[in-house]
């Protein structure tokens, strides 16, 4: 493939001299991924083999230091960005700002950090822009290959595992990718469904909404069916039908009701190797600010509007405090039918609107207070002194 040629993943490297392994002043050894078994087509998927042919003699000194990550600061919240993803009863919300920064310069105020992989999966990326673009394309390729080979879509957790395994050989190099996979798993069999009536109702409603489904399903199964697994849109409609019945339960109950086979998912994968599944994930230098808003407002039973508002608010607060986040906010909503994108919104407007709202609120509070004091005066309980203090 063209990408493969450009990156030279399968080139034999006999003519390239091996890297020197002189540790730099930090004892940090530069690793390349080309040292493994080059005969295998997926050599970057395997854990690194012991390099017995090259008699390296890394000392204990270098081996302890080589596991230090490239970032040496005490706590560096690297990746100048704010991205977030969370699940709730009606799907997944993925939101991100649009500022791409390079040290103190805004390289691009309108970059796109949320990239769709397929109809039911989007990935929020942060870290180095080039690395994210590359790895997003590699992941897309691998997932498509999996789908063609196995005739079913790889689950979100599987995709996270795949990406994590592919990134592992690059650990210790300067590859910097922190991706949040947000999507809907849709592999459910007929016998987990409950009410046929609900399914029929939802089917009808969805058929009217066919534009979204059409976009989603073209890139999906492509008409290939397995006997035991339903067509993608039937499955997704059925899970939609299940949603109202489970929205009142505890989160843990819900996730186990889904049986781990279907439902909204959020997974975080980092080039360090960290891989986490959760309900709320936020990444980037603005993530602490976003977490504060999300932790406060998140409930499993939120409506779509509440969830969208929460995500917007979280990104907005983060962009306010964090210098490396800002400009606009992108928002994607993923349900069983696929992803839907909300229009990009300029947060500058939101900031001014909030100022106006605050001014109005202050005026109203002032009015109320005056009215209250007016009442107290009339009743003759307050004296002149308290009016002045109020």
């Amino acid at each position: 493939m063209a990408l493969q040629d450009v990156c030279g993943f399968l080139e034999t490297l006999d003519d390239i001299s091996p890297c020197t392994y002189l540790p730099n002043e930090m004892g940090y050894m530069w690793r390349t991924p080309f040292e493994f078994d080059r005969d295998s087509a997926f050599h970057f998927l395997f854990p690194p083999q012991q390099c017995s042919r090259k008699n390296r003699a890394p000392t204990l000194f270098s081996s302890t230091f080589s596991s230090l990550s490239p970032h040496q600061q005490p706590f560096q919240l690297s990746h100048g960005t704010t991205t977030l993803g969370f699940i709730f009863q009606d799907g997944v919300i993925a939101a991100a700002d649009t500022r791409a920064s390079c040290k103190g310069l805004i390289c691009c105020p309108i970059s796109q950090k949320i990239m769709p992989i397929h109809s039911h999966l989007v990935v929020n990326t942060s870290g180095s822009g080039a690395d994210c673009m590359l790895w997003e394309r590699i992941l897309t390729r691998e997932m498509r290959l999996y789908q063609l080979r196995h005739r079913k879509r790889l689950s979100i957790n599987g995709a996270a595992k795949l990406l994590s395994t592919m990134l592992h050989p690059f650990k210790g190099t300067n590859v910097c990718v922190a991706a949040t996979l947000c999507g809907w798993d849709g592999e459910e069999t007929q016998d987990t469904l409950q009410s046929c009536m609900e399914i029929a109702d939802v089917k009808e409603a969805v058929e009217q909404d066919s534009n979204v489904s059409a976009i989603s399903d073209v890139s999906a199964q492509g008409g290939v069916k397995m006997a035991s697994i339903n067509e993608q849109d039937e499955i997704s409609k059925d899970t939609q039908a299940l949603n109202p019945t489970v929205s009142n339960q505890n989160t843990k109950n819900v996730l186990s009701t889904f049986g781990g086979r279907s439902g909204p998912r959020v997974c975080y994968v980092c080039s360090d190797g960290l891989q986490l599944k959760g309900e709320i994930i936020s990444v980037g230098s603005g993530s602490p600010y976003a977490y504060a808003v999300l932790d406060d407002g998140w409930r499993w039973g939120m409506t779509v509007d509440e969830a969208v508002a929460l995500a917007r608010e979280a990104v907005f607060r983060a962009t306010h405090w964090d210098a490396y986040s800002g400009n606009n906010v992108d928002l994607f909503h993923i349900t069983a039918h696929g992803w839907r994108r909300r229009d990009r919104e300029d947060l500058k407007e939101e900031y001014y609107r909030e100022r106006e709202r605050e001014k109005k609120k202050i005026k109203e509070r002032e009015k109320e207070r005056q009215k209250r004091e007016g009442d107290e005066l009339v009743e003759g309980e307050g004296d002149i002194y308290s009016v002045h203090c109020g």
Binding site: S67, L77, H168, G273
Partner: protein
């Protein structure tokens, strides 16, 4: 930052690990499980550098399973511990060492319960009690004072609670909850998650 502890009794091993998955200063997950089930009666507790823990632990886990598939019987805890140590040692002087600290706890029909302490330099020691992490500095002396080889299960859980209370009191980081498991001749039992401060 992370904490592991194991206490061996006459016919059981009690192990606990904290539930925090952190990335720089943020707790990204509060219910993260750091224990990996190698077989019906062996648990591997693994902490250390972010990606290395899962990669290494899953590698060991799959290899132990593979042994069982090939040979029809499971590796004993001692064998599994030595296998793990050998892998750590092999990778140590390679260009990709795994920076992980481990506790391996298991029950063998013939030898009884065993707790093995391993660190990132591939040291291996069979110990009656062990701990990893900064919390270990605070709790090892408690274990020294109150540990006896003939602890009952309840006494072991009380000892564990004492350790966790000390952590809550003196450790600078907040570790709100711990996964606790017990291994005996009947296998691995999940016990109640211990929030720190419970009596």
């Amino acid at each position: 930052m992370e904490y592991l502890i194991g206490i061996q009794g006459p016919d059981f091993v009690l192990v606990a690990a904290d539930n925090v998955a952190a990335s720089s200063i943020i707790q990204m997950k509060h219910d993260y499980d750091k224990m990996f089930k190698l077989s019906e009666k062996i648990l591997l507790l693994c902490v250390g550098e972010a990606g290395d823990t899962v990669q290494f632990a899953e590698y060991i886990q799959k290899n132990v399973q593979l042994y069982k598939m090939r040979n029809g019987y499971e590796l004993s805890p001692a064998a599994a511990a030595n296998f793990t140590r050998k892998n750590l040692a092999d990778y140590l002087r390679s260009r990709t060492p795994y920076h992980v600290n481990l506790l391996l706890a298991g029950y063998d029909e013939a030898d009884g319960p065993g707790l093995y302490y391993m660190d990132y330099l591939s040291a291996l020691a069979k110990a009656p009690f062990a701990a990893h992490g900064y919390g270990a500095f605070l709790t090892l002396s408690i274990l020294d004072r109150y540990y006896r080889p003939d602890l009952t299960r309840e006494e072991a859980v009380d000892l564990l609670k004492k350790c966790l209370e000390e952590l809550n009191k003196r450790f600078i980081l907040n570790l709100p909850s711990f996964t606790v498991r017990l291994i005996d001749k009947d296998g691995i039992h999940d016990m109640e998650k211990l929030p720190v401060g419970s009596k």
